[in-house]
């Protein structure tokens, strides 16, 4: 049913439809409305599960880790500093191969303190073993939760996943969202069947000590699981389209790439702005298209290479900076396209809530076509 709703409430509604059994979260801007809504749903018995109030994000994710290990479908949401506080638990959860889904309302990391949007928080956890999906709009943010649970709990994957959507830009924006009903979601997402489960009657230990003779093989298995997650995401995305009519059967999404000389690459809500900018540039006769990355982990290298077969120039927009190098997506796209002859340029853009407008996209394309890039875009030189 199509309804106009705030992004955070849409996510909360989607999570409710996934029938979470344990929710543990700590409120932090701009994630607050999600967990506020979920707490209310639990209090109203709309969700048949526990809501554990905790004193920090470290405890929130630790509670989810324990819940998942005990065989419950677990959920949390956070952002920025909260995610940074979860760093250790994130790695443990992936290493323990415990499924769960966590929503991240993407926000800049301090210092200086910023509550506004960029992707630095989740990009900084790209190596943690969680698969990462980035939503362009609130419909996609909603739908990715159903897919993420299905993939996370698949016994060929068994990895936790982050659904990332832009703080404020999406989390606090009202958009029409086609919200499925419970029976439809139940028909797509079966109850959680744990692979291992903590049970006093049939005891096991999880995450046992691994000596140098074993540790590396465990890491290799996580890497294999992440590669499998890519395939399972595609399959779950296709199955989603059969159930709900919206297609997520690829880790990337091309927009007007046919005949494009220059392709933009981006993640998240800025892709909506880019699509409008591409339409205007196409109307003006410029051969420009967009490749949206829906998944950043696993990194869709093969899909990127296939989609950009015929372009000359690629401009990657990074709402993050790996300090001391460049934007994360730019670095990885360059590696993916090495030896192809395609010029790849990186633009660090929109950090800490700096607006990215259609004219900025057009200027990036101008710069890329002149071969100017690998830079911070839109710096206010008057304050430097």
């Amino acid at each position: 049913m199509l309804k106009i709703t705030e992004g955070s409430y849409a996510v909360a509604e989607a999570v409710k439809l996934c029938r979470p059994q344990v929710i543990a979260a700590y409120p932090i801007t701009p994630q607050t409305h999600i967990v506020e809504a979920l707490a209310e749903m639990v209090a109203n018995c709309e969700i048949d599960g526990e809501y554990i109030t905790v004193e920090s994000e470290f405890s929130a994710l630790s509670a989810c880790l324990g819940a998942s290990a005990a065989g419950s479908r677990a959920y949390s949401a956070t952002t920025s500093q909260g995610l940074a506080l979860m760093f250790e638990v994130c790695f443990n959860m992936a290493g323990l191969r415990l499924p769960m889904v966590m929503t991240i309302a993407n926000r800049a990391l301090g210092a200086p303190l910023s509550i506004w949007n960029d992707h630095q928080d989740t990009i900084s956890l790209r190596d943690s073993g969680w698969f990462q999906l980035y939503a362009e709009d609130n419909q996609e943010a909603t739908d990715l939760h159903f897919i993420a649970y299905k993939v996370s709990e698949d016994h060929n994957v068994l990895l936790p996943g982050m659904v990332c959507f832009d703080g404020f830009i999406l989390s606090h924006t009202y958009e029409p969202v086609d919200m499925p009903v419970q029976e439809e979601v139940d028909g797509y997402l079966p109850p959680f069947t744990p692979y291992h489960r903590l049970d006093a009657g049939d005891p096991i230990s999880m995450g046992m000590y691994a000596t140098p003779e074993y540790y590396m093989e465990f890491r290799y298995q996580i890497q294999q699981a992440m590669e499998q997650a890519g395939k399972t995401l595609v399959a779950a995305g296709k199955e989603f389209s059969e159930h709900f009519g919206r297609d997520y059967g690829s880790l990337v999404e091309g927009y007007r790439l046919d005949g494009a000389d220059t392709a933009l690459i981006a993640m998240g809500s800025v892709c909506g702005t880019i699509k409008d900018a591409v339409d205007e540039m196409r109307d003006a006769g410029r051969k420009v298209g967009l490749l949206k990355l829906r998944a950043f982990r696993p990194f869709p290298e093969r899909e990127i290479v296939a989609a950009l077969n015929n372009v000359n120039t690629v401009a990657v927009l990074d709402k993050n900076i790996s300090l001391g190098n460049s934007g994360a997506a730019g670095t990885e796209v360059k590696a993916a396209l090495a030896g192809s002859g395609i010029t790849v340029l990186d633009y660090v853009i929109g950090l800490g809530g700096r607006d990215v407008r259609k004219r900025d996209i057009a200027r990036v394309v101008d710069l890329a076509e002149k071969g100017e890039g690998d830079m911070f875009y839109g710096l206010r030189t008057e304050v430097l």
Binding site: L96, Y195, H196, I204, S205, M208, Y214
Partner: protein, 86 residues
């Protein structure tokens, strides 16, 4: 031992872990110099020094980590630490 997903394990005994593989120095006991005082067995943190029928002592190399306490404490200097060949 085959890997299990998430490094999960059934309850078991620590005896299965042959910690002797950690050893860099191995204690070599010379029973002919042993005064049978038993201090080596008393100080061994692993409890892996065993008394023989003759009343002298031998280490269990499956579990001896080579800490060298027995050699350090032996009043008769009847234990020598020798580097492992690996």
């Amino acid at each position: 031992m085959p890997l299990t997903i998430g490094c999960a394990a059934r309850p078991g005994k620590a005896r299965r872990n042959l910690t002797g593989s950690w050893r860099v120095f191995r204690p070599v006991f010379r029973p002919e110099e042993c005064t049978k005082c038993g201090l080596c067995a008393t100080v061994c943190p692993e409890g892996c020094v065993i008394e023989t029928e003759e009343g002298t002592f031998i280490p269990d190399y499956d579990y001896c980590k080579g800490c060298g306490l027995c050699a350090e404490e032996c009043p008769a200097k009847a234990i020598e630490m020798v580097q492992e060949e690996k």
